[in-house]
Symmetry: C2
Subunit: 544 residues, 2 copies
């Protein structure tokens, strides 16, 4: 059997290597347009910031080494331009010689990846307009940053890669602005979580311009100004991080089914609508494990799983891909962010009876050096109890919180099943009540009615209008707000009618919860706790 793989980065090399292990008698040939194969795309921003010092560290394998190691053959500098399904062959252009070549196959694997979106705007061909997709891209930006000529940079696009580039430029002393045409950065996060990150980045000196479209670049051959739908920004460099588009132009008119975004539709065996053709990695459209809706997961992690599955299936096994959860994690300056599962918005669209909670919990024993908070949003179905998703921000191990949720979601756990778990605890790692368990407890309290709250979104929407804000902190903390000392409440509180609407606010939410519990006992019927307290919502609670 002859298997042709188009593309040689994560998905292409994985499927080839695994296939040769499964079935060495299978001929496997990788065709790749570039000269590099198997590079660490996710590491590029860190090479820009000199967190990774050597370009060679980004290269997992050379074509020669890879071929020897695996037994797959590799031809570089070959761009596939056409597909003849009936004849089971592809046409390609040899980029060195200019020749047209043909390659036949028994099975074809499309792993052509994706390319950065470059909109047709004026000035994008100028010097100091960068992308972040290949080692060459990273090299170019790094050199420019090191030359000292870039004082200010604009990143167009507030996805994970854009934000990682922003962090790495900022760490080199370059003033960085991130613009996004959407109302928020951080796709995959609910708006209030993204907004917290935006505020945090502003505190760190990285400004975000939202609802703002890139309109072009001005300059005398080199970037001097970045034009946007709002205003022009003085800048010496522009990094385009506007997303990627699947490299599937050569599939036009072949009858291979594509999604509206031009990715290749595959079934759970990674097969296209042609049983001899598979597609995987950034150019393929898979499904969401929870909703079974189509999902695009252009991630190195997905590429590896998909490569393994496709290889097993091509070699004759019968392996199904259950799909992705939309998991992601990103390191930002002084704050990490991670997520998995459904956002509140997606959960509602999927028809769930959504309950969510925003909780601020310790990430390790409060007395242990480096202890900090996790800001967690948990989402569940109120009726079925199904756990639906998590979003976590914090200085610490947000990835741990996310990975715990990944297993819970994959096993279709209910919130109730996630109570009482025997998580790992020692002061350097966690808290006696594990932060994940702690959030589950808070969510359960909310679901049972023993905690009654406004979420940060409800608060921002004005649902707390007419509520008297009460400072429930350990000591008076919120300016211009009445302080109520939990420790002294042992009956009716003077000056407060039993039906008074009171919004109880403390630093994190815990003390406000205790105060609500106490006030309820003494007959107060209209209290609400502000989820996330002043840590999440800010200290100025009188404004909007």
């Amino acid at each position: 059997m002859k298997v042709l793989v188009i593309g040689g980065v994560a998905a292409g090399t994985k499927v080839a290597a695994k296939l040769k292990r499964e079935s060495r008698e299978t001929e496997v040939l990788i065709l790749t347009k570039s000269e590099d194969i198997s590079y660490a795309g996710c590491g590029l921003p860190y090479y820009v910031g000199d967190v990774i010092h050597e370009r060679s560290q980004l290269i997992v394998n050379t074509p020669e080494k890879f071929a020897k190691l695996t037994g797959a053959e590799v031809e570089t500098g070959i761009e596939v331009t056409g597909l003849d399904r009936e004849g089971r062959k592809v046409t390609a252009k040899d980029l060195k010689s200019g020749e047209t070549k043909e390659y036949t196959y028994d099975k074809l694997v499309i792993a052509t990846g994706a390319s950065p979106v470059v909109p047709p705007l004026p000035g994008l061909d100028m010097k100091n307009v960068f992308m972040m997709r290949t080692p060459d891209d990273a090299e170019a930006l790094r050199k420019a940053a090191e030359s000292g000529t870039i004082k200010r940079a604009v990143i167009a696009g507030g996805g994970f890669i854009g934000l990682e580039v922003a962090e790495n430029l900022q760490s080199r002393g370059i003033r960085t602005t991130v613009l996004d045409m959407l109302p928020h950065i951080m796709p995959g996060f609910d708006p209030e979580m993204a907004e917290f990150v935006e505020d945090h980045l502003a505190d760190q000196g990285i400004m975000t311009l939202l609802d703002t479209k890139l309109e072009g670049v001005e300059g005398d051959g080199t970037v001097e100004k970045v034009k946007t739908s709002r205003r022009a920004i003085k800048a010496d460099a522009l990094v385009l991080s506007l997303g990627i588009r699947a490299n599937t132009a050569f599939l036009a008119d072949t009858g291979i089914e594509l999604a509206p975004n031009r990715t290749v539709l595959v079934d759970d065996h990674m097969r296209t609508n042609d049983e001899n053709i598979y597609a995987l990695g950034d150019c393929s459209m898979i499904t969401n494990r929870m909703t079974h809706a189509r999902a695009w997961s252009p991630m190195g992690s997905s590429a590896n799983i998909e490569g393994r599955i496709a290889a097993q299936n091509i070699a004759g096994a019968d392996v199904s891909y259950p799909g992705v959860l939309g998991t992601g994690v990103v390191k930002l300056p002084g704050l990490n962010a991670g997520r998995t599962g459904l956002t509140e918005q997606v959960a509602k669209e999927a028809g769930h009876d959504v309950v969510s909670v925003v909780a601020v919990v310790d990430d390790k024993a409060h007395y242990y050096p480096g202890a900090d908070s996790f800001l967690v949003k948990m989402i569940a179905d109120k009726t079925t109890g199904e756990f639906l998703g998590i979003q976590v921000l914090g200085k610490g191990a947000v990835d741990k919180m996310v990975d715990i949720a990944v297993v819970a979601l994959s096993m279709k756990a209910t919130v109730q099943q996630l109570e009482h778990l025997d998580f790992a605890y020692a002061p350097p790692f966690s808290t006696a009540i594990h932060p994940f368990a702690h959030c589950i407890n808070i969510l359960l309290n909310k679901m049972s009615g023993s905690l009654d709250t406004f979420t940060p979104v409800e608060f921002a929407e004005g649902k707390a209008e007419g509520y008297k804000v009460i400072d429930a902190s350990l000591k008076p903390t919120l300016e211009g707000v009445e302080f109520m000392n939990l420790e002294e409440i042992d009956g009716e509180v003077e000056g407060h009618p039993k039906d008074e609407k009171m919004l109880l606010v403390c630093a994190k939410g815990k003390r406000a919860y205790m105060l609500q519990n106490r006030l309820r006992y003494y007959g107060y019927t209209n209290t609400k706790v502000l989820e996330g307290g002043s840590t999440f919502n800010g200290e100025d609670l009188t404004e909007d």
Copy 2:
């Protein structure tokens, strides 16, 4: 209703606080022998090492503050000495006045904790014999360490607390030896994992003396020598960390059912055999979530869960505790260790058809600063596929690996269900093939037969006798061992008959797996991969 709680550290304060929130009309009185309540027992070793600077950081609450905060009353300095179940009252001694007092109850909660085991050996009353159970204990050891008079210390007992004390004394420049009467330190780990830790600690200057019994102390009022069943050790201090014993002497002859180790037997509602009496925390005997056998979990994390459950049940709810997994995590110098679920030994005793694998995998992208290895042992049932347990060593986030396994075990996942999970990946946090997923893949390869190995235990037992060791590393690495370059193998290998027994060894196991795969294709029928490679088994593979 009047609820009497005996004990005021983790379990006692938790049950009281939660109960008052569930039902403030319930009278709750905590009786505690000591003057402190609610201290952070798990933080004590770090106070000794000055990782935690202030004693006050260890105190979660004073009795007065706690009472005000929760509404529970607290009486300190009260030692309960007797129980009258029929009369629903306890007798107690007021340690300040010497008076005998009586306290009645409707419901009684026994949360008396446990005390360090102090064997009746000569010299243990001398100066510089320490324990590690209370803030006073930690204070005493810290002062002695700071005085500069302790150059050498012996820790008796190689459990987590003993090892944490060893690390914290060593960081102060004190030479530390840990002795244990068992064949290995680190209870709850399989022997080969514990042995790896022992070797690592020796490299760090902490010696372990195993199969060695403490026999006493010699000195002129102050410790000078620690006598053991092997030899006497010159030392200026001895820390007793020989385990703890439940504080249940006052229950003798009351008919309350105790386990052989004197802990109180409780049902899944945390109730003893007397329906009005609950027991929780270190003094109680619960069950293992997987085997349903009795399990003792004297941990702050369990205490909190148990307190919550008992409070809910006393307040009228019907909440069951599914039990513990035996989860634990410990920070050691340059190596963390964590575990959950069944060890190989316990899994075998429980009747499982055990398959295990020892794998060495990257903990984050290999090119990201601080990347290191996880040394992982995974245990499963070959027949049912049930995932049974994990043990992890490494510089990095072993707690993450353990917590992932905690959810998997609690949801009764099979190894097959744990394949293809969409874990969080970005280079600062993880690898594109997540370390947990990577280990699952290796285990599945072993279960399917596509990987054929000797485990480190099989190797140590001599199962590889008669096998020719082959160095499968990237380049020749193992001294005196024939090197076989995977990249050059493209057919029969000269000098090696097809049925030759060959043990393939590389640094971590991955390249040896690839070599095995290749050799099998060319007809070699008797190869074995050494799990964990030279990283786990050491480079000298000719010895023993």
